[in-house]
Each structure stands twice: as structure tokens, then as C-alpha cells.
Symmetry: C2
Amino acid sequence: MSTSLDERNGGAARTTRLAKWAIDLQYEGIPKEVVERTKELFLDWVGCAIAGRHHPAVSAIAKYAVQMGPTTGKSEFIDGSLGLLTSPAFAALVNGAASHVVEQDDLHNRSMMHPATVIFPAALAVAQDIQANGKDFIAACVVGYEVACRVGEYLGRNHYEMFHSTATGGVVGVAAAVSHLLRHNMSQMLSAIGTAGTQAAGLWQFLIDASHSKQVHTGKACFDGIFAAYVAKHNLLGPKDILEGPRGMGNALGRGSTSPEAIDQSLGIDFAVLQSSFKWHASCRHTHPSVDALLSLMQKHALKFDDIESVVARTYQAAINVLGLSGRGETVHQSKFTMGFVLAVAAKYGQAMITDFTEEALRDPALRNFQDRVTMKYDAHIDSQFPQKWQGTVEVTCNSGKQISESVEYLKGDPQLPLTRLELEAKTRALFDYGGYDDTKNIERVIQRVWQLEDEVDLLGFSFE
Amino acid sequence: MSTSLDERNGGAARTTRLAKWAIDLQYEGIPKEVVERTKELFLDWVGCAIAGRHHPAVSAIAKYAVQMGPTTGKSEFIDGSLGLLTSPAFAALVNGAASHVVEQDDLHNRSMMHPATVIFPAALAVAQDIQANGKDFIAACVVGYEVACRVGEYLGRNHYEMFHSTATGGVVGVAAAVSHLLRHNMSQMLSAIGTAGTQAAGLWQFLIDASHSKQVHTGKACFDGIFAAYVAKHNLLGPKDILEGPRGMGNALGRGSTSPEAIDQSLGIDFAVLQSSFKWHASCRHTHPSVDALLSLMQKHALKFDDIESVVARTYQAAINVLGLSGRGETVHQSKFTMGFVLAVAAKYGQAMITDFTEEALRDPALRNFQDRVTMKYDAHIDSQFPQKWQGTVEVTCNSGKQISESVEYLKGDPQLPLTRLELEAKTRALFDYGGYDDTKNIERVIQRVWQLEDEVDLLGFSFE
């Protein structure tokens, strides 16, 4: 029986090719731009993890880690205030939860995944444990991004309706990244992928009552992927065709449609790392096209906050639907989902960073007054392009009576429009600030260290009190 | 949005009732026969865990536990040869894997689950850690069986086609059992159930290449259920309607059909513990109706092995399909799936225990000769009753020329035909023997201890070198 079922499904050929690529990748063979982008994504991840480290879900998981895990080891909790070292599985569990709190982590559009929040914490914790160097770490992360995002894209949109793909694709990517660090042979790599895949989990049900599973999913994807890789090293056998097999992830979790070609096409040419977007503004992503257009317009025409009489934000229907739910934005969280308030913040501060959305800002009459002069308008052309392109147009009427407009085709932070390193450093500082860390000297040291990551002899010292 | 989606799905009413029942159950309110059966199931589990402790998958997971977990604590690896104590999560991880190796663990028919292999290792490890007494342990296990089997039955047959229900229902049952031990309030119990459910995983893909996920699934269900219960104690919020919610287990994993009434009907009246079967013979379950019929016939007519000329085993189609795959039974494993060989063993030894299937037995000409005189025959009436009843009929021709037949309606070990304690003790001794443990005095001590479990002040000492 096993042979015919296996053959009917291509005999695991695609998964085997992906696993072979994951084993064979060497730092020296990775294009320079992929290496540089990986370092940028990693710095972005460090900031997100610090910013989220005090969330109640993270604290609960950290307590569990102290109860159930060792309190000595070589792997660091990124929240140094815990004052502990531990084993890689528990460091990654807690750090993976922390980095998925503030909604500022990266996004791989095609797979609808946030790869940083699963790949980096797992690879970092294991690299610390085995004293891997910067080059090994970067190569493992490139592998992890690739495998995670390809599995996420393979599982596709129907899967994403029910499952948190960051976790279900992520656990497989983690297994591959860690297996690369542990220098698995082919059988062990396939076993790690198989064992991770048969443990893939994470349902969207938590969104309905705003509970804490989001952080559980990413932390556990780290833990479970590390588990899969280590037991594979100890020769625990995993199913060889976990993606496409008759009782594998695609058939069980794909809900009727998958994209098998995503598993192995253009391997080594089309890098997931290069297809990942940075999130620049701290507001809902549906406000970003309008924010980018407004900031661009203000810069081009040297306009100030007080020069603006009113703004019409032309956008797609999905944005109007989502942004219509948060009313006037009475809480900090809601205010990030309120187009008028977000544009007011951007216009006043020239940015909309995580530290710009505060209780004080909510009570600022100037911001509230500006907000009242913003309207959203449906734009049929923009809507027809969504979601392939997240375009935006703003029409501004100035106090002088002058009317001007500006459009953007891509979001700032998208692969087509990456952040500059200066912008990324500014975002990082804001995230550290938000996370209550104020040793500015050390922040600058960390930033410079990441820019030279390939020269590092180890990955120790990514822990902040 | 959340309200209407919630209401459309009954507002988590069934899950809330199940959680409330799980919190409220006290040892004193459990019917005597449920307590006694729980102890029997626990002894059966101890034997299965010892018998499986040296399997390569278990060894790999034990190595991981030593690498990633603490090597001090109050929870015991049932394999005392590791010489270590650990935290409850890791003890349960390894012990849960060990008890699902030899295919001798219990079966809850309606849910198609093996509850013992997930509920007992988790409850035992936590009971050891918090020094719960025998009564608390028994009550927690009754809760765990109930919740696990109800979730498994709710998810149903379509789910079972793809998912290893022992793990997916099991993780929720573990969370409930552990939450009972930790004395969760209602909000914490619901959170534990929710967090466990959003982590439910385990695919049958591993069957296709005979890999080791079976033990991963049960060990990880223990680990993940313990995780869910402990983080809930630390006030991590889980989704409240993880079973029936629009993006919950039923909709995501139920594959189009679920049985919602199974969640909460007849709670406290219909106990899963009483609906669980013991596996008596060590062979494939499809051989059991014929083995039971043959042994009954031989006893009634005082027949011996050498008195039998030939046997016709009348059975249902599924048995013929499965048992047709193992040829003549060239390996010990295959021999348990070969009707002729299994009946030969049963006829010769008066039983078919785990220690009766050996390399020596494979080479025994008397057994092989008997095997050649056994045929299987399709029986339309028996087939029409399957799988509600696993009936069997044997027609025996004696050397004397006499023809006799015998039928059985239930399997030995089924709820309708439970094992006697003497039989269970014999099975336990065989399982210890198979697991390489020969301190017979200690085995007898353990057996007696389990029969008095409700009087025990703690659960320490279930570890065997």
C-alpha cells in the first residue's frame, strides 16, 4: 500500500529537493544582497522582541519556561531582566512569543506569513547553544525563511482561512534552519521536516475573543521545530512526504487547494528573504498606502501639519471595511486602526512609529481636530489592483486653497521599496524605547554588531535587561 | 463581529458545560466502578510504558529531554535506567511516547482513541510534582479520559481519516486533567482547553513509511497539554470556544462532519473510563474475535493443540483485507498480523501474550504446521455487524473427525467482557518481562499498590530500572 500511495503523490520528490537544497546551502553561495537583507530582518526582529517582552502572554510563557525548563544553559532570554540562561528550546519558546506582540514584524506577502518571529528566535537560541558563528547563523536563517515561506505558500489561502500560517509553515522552517545548524544529513533533514510537519498547529479561533494564542503559536512553532530537528539528530524517523503525502499537511490542512510548485520552484534564485516586507508605520497596514502618499506629498510640497485644511484618502474596499470598525479610536490600539488619527499623527510627527501612539496623543486636540478633516473614499482603480498592489492616493486641500494629490504604488518597506538602514535603525530605537530599554550606548553597539554579523564568532549577548 | 460569530455557534455553551463538569468533579462523587476501572487502566498503562521503554523513538525523545529539560525535579521517567528526575513536562513527554509502542494500550471505541497513553503519563508526572495523592490523581484521570474521548468523538470519523485522534483529542484531555490537579478556576480551565485545542496536531502520514511519529504524537500531546494547563494558571488566555467556534477544531480539523452532542451529553452518567477496552491478546485486534472463539471452544470441549486438524475463521471483510497484507508472517511484527500463526500460538499456549511472539516461535515447525491448516472465510452476518460488534466464529475439525464451532459477540477486554484482575496482573507481568524488567517482587508490590491507589499519599515510585 505504502508504495502506491507514495507514487501517486510524486514520491516526495519536491520535499526531497527542498531538503537537499536546505542541506547544501553554504554561506559562501548566498548572494550578497540576501545576506544583507537577512541582517536587516534580524535587527528588525530584535527590536520587535524587545518591544513585546512585557506582554502578559509572554510573561506567562516565561514563567512556564522557568518551571519546566533548566535555569542554566547557553541560550539567552532576550528579556535579560529574567536574569537567566536556559536551553535553546525554552529560550526560543519565550523569545518567539515576545517578537509577535507589537505587530511590527516582517511579512512575506505570498505566503501571508511573518517568518522573522519563528525563524530568528529558534536559530539564535540554537546558535548560542552550539556556539555557531555569524556566517552559520545567517545561512541557517536563509534556509529557515525559504522552507517556512514555501510551506506557507504551498498550503495557501484556504489553509490561511483557518490556520495561522506563521506557525504551521513556521514550524517546518524552524526544523530546517535548526537542522542546518546541526549539520543534518539528508535522512535527518527529511525526518526533521516530517516530524515538524506532523506537529503543525495554530487556529485563528483566538481572534474571536482576543485571547493570547498568537504568541503561543509562534513560541510553540519554535519549540516544536527545535524538537523535530534534535530528535532527528538522534535518528527518530519522520514521515518523508509530510507536505504532499496522502495523509500529509496538504491533504489534511490545505482544505482543498494547495500550490505544490511553490515547494521547489526557483530554489536558490527566488529568495524568501528578499520577498519579505518590513513594516514601517506602527499603524494598521491598511493605513500605510495613505500615510506614505501623504508624507510624500508633504515632503514634495514642503507642507507642514498646520498648512493642511483637509485630506481625502482614496483607497480599496477592504481598507474601508477594516478601518470602519474602530470608531473614533478611543484606545491606543484602536487609534492605530483609525485612518484620520493615523494621518494626523503622520502629518504632525513626519512618521507614525510605535512611540507616537500614546495616551497623550489620544488627548491632543490638534490631532483630533486634524482627524475630523480626513475622509476615506472608495477608489475603483486602486481596488482593482488589490491585494497584488497596496496602492494609495491622497487629495489634500491646503489652507491656501490649493489642491494637490499624490499616489504611491508600493508600501514603504515592501521589497520594491526597502527601508534604508537609517530608517531601520530609527525603527529599532523606537522599539527598544517602547520595550522599556534605555541603554542607548548598548543599542548602538547592537546595531553596529548586526551590520557586521557575518564577522561575529558567536551570537551571545542578545539579551537586554 | 466576535459576538455574532460566537452566537451563531452556540456561544461555547457545550464546551463551557464540559469545563464546568471537569472543575466540579470530586473523587467522592465518582462511582465506585469508575474508580476501580481507572486503577485497572492505570496498571495496564504502567505495563505498556515499561514494555515500550527501549524503542528507538523513545530513546531519541529521552535524549532530547535530557538535552533540553532539567535533570533534577520531582517527576520520574518510568524508565528508571535513565537514573534521572525531571520536570513534569519532560517526564510526561518521554513516558507518553513509551506507552504507545507495543500496541497493547487501551482503546475507547466510540472516539477511536487510546486515552491511557496520553492521560496517565501527564497526570502522573504532574501529580508527582505537586505531591497530589491517589484520590486526586484518580479524579484527574477520570476528567482527562472524559474530555479527551468526548473531543475525539466530537471530531469523529472524517477527522480520524487524517488525524491521530489519540493526540488531537488527547492534548485537550491532558489539559483538563492537569488543570483539575492544579485546581483551576473556570476561566483558567476554559483557557487551558482553548490553548490545548489550538495546538492539536498529529497526522497519519507516518504510517506510509513506518516512521516514528506515533510516539511523537502521544508524547507531545502530553507535553502540550501540560503547557496549556500551566500557562493558563499564569493567566494566559485561550480561546473560549475552541471546539465549536467558527475557526475552532471542528471547522478546521473536522473535515465536514462533527458530533457536537458528544461534547456534553450524559456527563457524569456515561463515563469514558467504563467505555474503554483492554487489549488482551498481543496480536492485531482483527484476529481477536477468532482467538477468543477458538480458546472458548477448546476450553468447552477440552481440546488440546494436537487434537485440532483444521480451523476455519469466519470473519468480516476488513479483517481479511488487513490480515492479508502480512504474508506468512516472517517477522515478529508481521506474525501478529497473520491469522493462522496467531491461532496456532493461542492454541498451543492457551494465550497470545506479548512474550509468546518470539523469534523462536517463528521457527517452531509445530506452529507453522498448524498455521497452514487455518483458513479465513468471509461471513456476511458478521460483516453486517462490524464495527459496532467485532464478532467471530471458528469452525474446527478435530483429528477425530468431529466438527464443532463457536462464536463470540464481544472481545475479551471489551467493556461488556472486562478482564479479571488476575488476567490483568498476568498481562502486566508479561509486559514487564518484555520490557526487560525482572524484579518480580517489585512488580507484585506495584500491582498491589495500584489496587490500593486511592489510599496512597503520593504517586512517587513509578520508575523501574
